[in-house]
């Protein structure tokens, strides 16, 4: 098990009902972690979701390490 800090934004924040949390998880990748969170929070279906690990864009298959900070990024809509 590893400790992962997760920060939520936009629709994910609204659905999770919190800004951030630290989770003890067996997930090996962001993909697995997102599936785990989705079971808990039942996020709305998104066209796409990207991920950032430690404030840099990363692949959904990147191995997660203990202490990583993860942010899932729904489709952006700035401007």
């Amino acid at each position: 098990m590893k400790n992962i800090r997760i920060e939520y934004f936009a629709v994910l924040r609204e659905q999770a009902g919190l800004d951030s949390e630290t989770l003890s998880t067996a997930a090996e990748t962001p993909q697995q972690l997102f599936a785990e969170l989705n079971e808990r929070y039942a996020f709305p279906q998104l066209q796409s979701v990207k991920v950032a690990i430690n404030d840099e864009f990363a692949d959904m298959q990147t191995p997660l390490h203990d202490g990583d900070a993860v942010v899932f990024i729904p489709p952006v809509a700035g401007g």
């Binding site: 920060e7 934004f9 936009a10 629709v11 924040r13 609204e14 709305p44 279906q45 998104l46 066209q47 950032a52 404030d55 840099e56 864009f57 942010v71 990024i73 729904p74 489709p75 952006v76 809509a77 700035g78 401007g79």
Partner: protein
Amino acid sequence: MLQFAIQDADLQPDQWRQELLDPACGGYASFEGWVRNHNDGEDVLRLEYQAYAALALKEGQRILAEAAEKFPIAHAKCVHRTGALEIGGMAVWVGVSGGHRDECFQACRYIIDEVKHRVPVWKKEHYRNGDSGWVNCEACAAGGDHDNGHRHD
């Protein structure tokens, strides 16, 4: 000077324009994104912007560096607003100065296009009919297809 910023207070283009002045520059192009009173057939009352600041600042800065590499500009600055905005409010500002108008226009357009697609900022629209929704979020906004890249200015 290449500078990307995010702020929760009103944008100040008149002030930032001064930072881009340069006696070697013959042109200055700028763009402002304003909150419209309608979108996708819905009357919009106000908007709310949220940013993943740590990554947004990095990605924004990368976009400005790309613009300066692609086009021979002198200076570029872009600032994105977060928080609540009323109709007519300014959500984003881009300013570019350079030797000639061609590179200024091209870089300014490149920056705003990339910022809209790549910088982690989200907006929630509040409609007259009481609904609200995060733009580009399929399941939460009324009216469906939010996959049209030209709809959100």
